[in-house]
Amino acid sequence: MIEFLQHLGKSTHTSFTKLGRATYFLLQTVTGILSVLPRPGLLLKQMYSVGVLSFLIITISGLFVGMVLGLQGYYILSDFGAEETLGVMVAASLVRELGPVVSALLFAGRAGSALTAEIGLMKATEQLSGMEMMAVDPIKRIISPRFLAGFLSMPLLAGLFSAVGIIGGQIVGSGLLGVDEGAYWSQMQAKLDFQDDIINGVIKSIVFGFVASWIALFEGYDAIPTSEGVSRATTRTVVNSAFSILGLDFILTALMFGDD
């Protein structure tokens, strides 16, 4: 019993310490962004590895998610003779929820794990301490550009995901199942609002990009500098990002779409 309490106390203590370190790390990273701005080359390089390399997985997944939504939505809606509202269903679910959430999960899996592994290995091979020896701040030189790149790429990726998904839904809906193309678009345009739906979706994806890059970079920076430590940190990145993204999504949805 005593042992259990000791264990509980210890793990609580460690997790709070870790949260404190993560917050301090975030503050340093955000202030470090200022020193990235005069050197856009660093940012561009990271935009390439975070954004461009995630482009393919995001667009292809978006296309298939949209096509599945079109197919399933059609089967359900046709029971009620309401196939024409397929466009509304596909677009609303993509723009409000699936676009930001699924692209953030893919982003955490594709780019976040790569970031953690890269930084963890840098730490394990003592490149970070080497930089400190040369009076180069590793946070400013390594972490901040990656953070900014993740933060900027996420809304673009989520927007692409939704756009491609809506087109995918249209391909299945009106191409294969025979929903009227005009009704697909016009019902969508009548029901979706720029402010309420699209801006809120973009806000969500910005928040998710922020959180996913923060977790990925911190786990890498905080990893135990061994090969096992790096592999554990990579796992934690994916798991923690998924939890935080889904949890935050619930909170944001309750805040944004609460009152009609």
Binding site: Y48, G51, G201
Partner: protein, 155 residues
């Protein structure tokens, strides 16, 4: 990994395609371009009962959407519902004796305001009031009346 001009181009392409995606959502999906609040004028109508009418519900005349409901409030003195509507400035020739009624699109559809133009030569201006209105048909009320009438006839 030294950054090269190919990478710059790819990043440029990526950012451009992301912006195109967001632009597509704004224009094609939410139809931002079709109706802006700027070029519109406001008229109000009082209903005994505005039913399930909501802010942003459509205002249409002859089946064409010409505006949106911008505010709905309750007048504590007359116990009426005051519905404020923004009408597109292009349609500025609605006669003063226009009738406003709350209709339902289809059996279970959304409620909207239908404007039936009258014959007056004076037009409604910004801040104008519609005097002749017809309330929403409340399905429960109508059913209740019908059942009551059917029961009366049986006696």
């Amino acid at each position: 990994m030294q950054h090269t001009s190919t990478q710059d181009t790819l990043v440029g392409l990526f950012v451009a395609s992301g912006i195109v995606g967001l632009f597509f959502l704004a224009m094609q999906v939410s139809n931002l371009s079709s109706f802006t609040e700027n070029d519109s004028y406001t008229i109000t109508a009082r209903f005994e009962n505005s039913g399930g009418l909501k802010v942003k519900s459509a205002v249409s005349a002859a089946g064409v959407k010409i505006g949106r409901v911008s505010a709905i409030s309750f007048d504590p003195k007359t116990y009426q519902s005051v519905v404020q509507m923004n009408i597109d400035a292009r349609y500025n020739t609605l006669p003063e004796d226009t009738t406003a009624s709350v209709f339902t699109a289809g059996l279970l559809g959304e409620q909207y305001v239908n404007l039936e133009p009258g014959g007056s030569d004076d037009y409604l201006k910004n801040g104008g009031k519609i005097d002749i209105t017809q309330s929403a048909i409340i399905l429960e009320k109508a059913l209740g009346q019908f059942l009551f009438k059917a029961a009366e006839e049986k006696k």
